[in-house]
């Protein structure tokens, strides 16, 4: 018999050793461990005991290879792993992780926008059988040369963005509607001149939130001039800069808007600070409304009013959808979890 290269070999015991220790065949060990019903109770106990004594853990790679699945889910995060005060991503992860872990899945983190050809890396993870499915928190499922995650036949769920038009079931929040509602609230309280502090141009959220505000403006018969929109000055990660830039713009405007609706709490908090530094009273002179529901906003003076996203629940829902897809069930193309307006003082 040829002697193959001993591939590493830590002390990790394998089934054969357990089988020997228990005085049974390998196949019996396998059954005893994974299919306890189909094996004699006494044998089962003997095997379990041997496994315990040896500290046996089934080799995941071998199982994966044999079964064709890995019990691993990939989470695709947008951009750099720094997300300001909003905590949307960590909360979403908590939701996802909670449900998936409870179902025996491992979580593999992949994030986009890394230096190297990351999209390729992600596609590879999918194609290599490393993962059984993916949850995408970035705006588009990664793709290389027109070949995207879902083309690989991998179950994919999106959250935060609606990409159901690309055939990816999506968990989103009611951005349009809640932004409309918030605006209507402010209109009802007498505001007539609005500033929308926008995030990156053309991004999904921006389209919908802005549309929501416009709808409220239109519905109440206010002129188009009642709403100004800042120019996108960068990614959400640079929320503070967005807020500071918006402050400059607001301070220079005449007539001055009496209400600012922001794309994120980071932007809102930076704007808030700058306004207060300028001696402007919030909310009496300018009302400021954030978006996200960052807990830290409650510590500002005045406390930041904001739109709270149900990030954890969205995560849980996305995970649940993925589990259903893995089970071969049909899932709805779009799942909406409502955000809520959180009035804390600044608007």
């Amino acid at each position: 018999m040829k002697k193959p290269t001993p591939p590493v070999s830590g002390a990790a015991p394998n089934m054969k050793q357990v089988a020997e220790a228990a005085g049974v065949a390998v196949s019996t060990v396998s059954r005893a461990l994974t299919n306890p019903g189909r094996v004699n109770e006494k044998t089962r106990t003997r095997v379990a005991e041997a496994a315990r004594k040896l500290g046996y853990t089934p080799n995941a790679a071998a199982r994966s290879l044999r079964m064709g699945k890995s019990k691993t889910i990939m989470i695709v995060l947008p951009g750099a792993l720094y997300y300001g005060a909003s905590q949307i991503i960590p909360l979403a992860l908590a939701g996802i992780d909670g449900l998936l872990a409870r179902n025996g899945f491992k979580i593999l983190i992949a994030n986009l926008d890394r230096e190297e050809a990351t999209e390729q890396h992600i596609i590879n993870l999918a194609g290599s059988g490393t993962v059984d499915g993916a949850i995408v928190l970035s705006s588009a499922p990664p793709s290389v040369g027109g070949r995207s995650l879902k083309d690989l036949g991998l179950p994919v769920v999106a959250m935060l963005h609606d990409i159901s038009d690309q055939g990816v079931p999506s968990v989103i929040t009611n951005e349009h509607q809640i932004m409309c509602a918030a605006t209507e609230l402010l209109i009802a309280e007498g505001h007539r001149q609005f500033l929308y502090v926008a995030g990156p141009d053309g991004v999904y959220h921006e389209v919908h939130r802005y549309a929501g505000i416009r709808e409220a403006i239109a519905r109440h018969g206010l002129p188009e001039s009642a709403l100004t929109r800042t120019e996108g000055v960068g990614a959400y990660q640079e929320g503070f800069n967005i807020g500071f830039a918006a402050a400059e713009q607001l301070l220079a405007m005449a007539p001055r808007p009496t209400a600012a609706l922001c794309c994120s709490d980071d932007a809102a908090l930076a704007l808030l600070k700058r306004l207060l530094d300028e001696g402007i009273e919030v909310p009496s002179e300018v009302a400021v409304m954030g978006f996200d529901g960052a807990a830290v906003g409650a510590l500002f003076r005045p406390a930041l009013s904001t739109i709270e996203q149900p990030a954890t629940e969205m995560g849980t829902r996305a995970a649940a959808l993925l589990l259903e897809m893995l089970a071969g069930e049909e899932v709805p193309p779009v799942t909406v979890v409502d955000s809520t307006i959180l009035r804390r003082g600044s608007a």
Copy 2:
């Protein structure tokens, strides 16, 4: 020949198919793809072309099984995946992920304190060959029945906590020294009565930071009564509550401390808010110093002075150490990356 159960079988092509398409043997494909030097250039091109055309990606499970390693690193996070405003964990992850991804490693997230028997889960991941190493951000490496991660022969690196006494190389910051320095700074500016707003009792950080303050107090000949320490009221995740509780205590004290040093920015910001709400001037009546370096602290009025932890760099260092260990190199038991005092206004 027996007909084995076709295990799933997506359309994922394997080496055999590539070999057929290229008109060579499987082993040649393997060589061409992983050891391009040892194969005829023309053959190599033909193989590469076939692989490209078929959209071939090597199966990770098979490779893992054969090679005995997975190119996957487990990151063990403490507690729930919600970390207040501090961003230490996300920043650390960014640092870790950056270096590891660049070296072709995948990142598996495991977090402690989940409902189920999570320690067992983590140990299993390690024992099952799923991961080649681990970076631990929690205070102790998970263990079950006295069997800990490192007993499994897995390279482990710790960060944030020094557990080098357990044989785990650790990347930490100079908590003791920087806290001492910050206190000395405040003493030099005339402060004589201090409050330390403590985190959870008995935790590593608390021991070292408190010791740092005490050293400064002692070195300058101040009496023990110059320093009061709040009782730990909960985990770091509940930073706001820690701060609020501390505020109550501070307001009730006589003589009132003129400087509060806090275990986290979350605690410091909550304390700050509460003091300002009470009409207390910061920093003139009470100086407030945070810990972590949360970016959002700069938006408060006054802006939060704090001790900035080099979280990203610590992450990078930890990853680097792990890579060295995987390469069989010796690594130092303790690596210290300095924090810096960030004076922004509140102290």
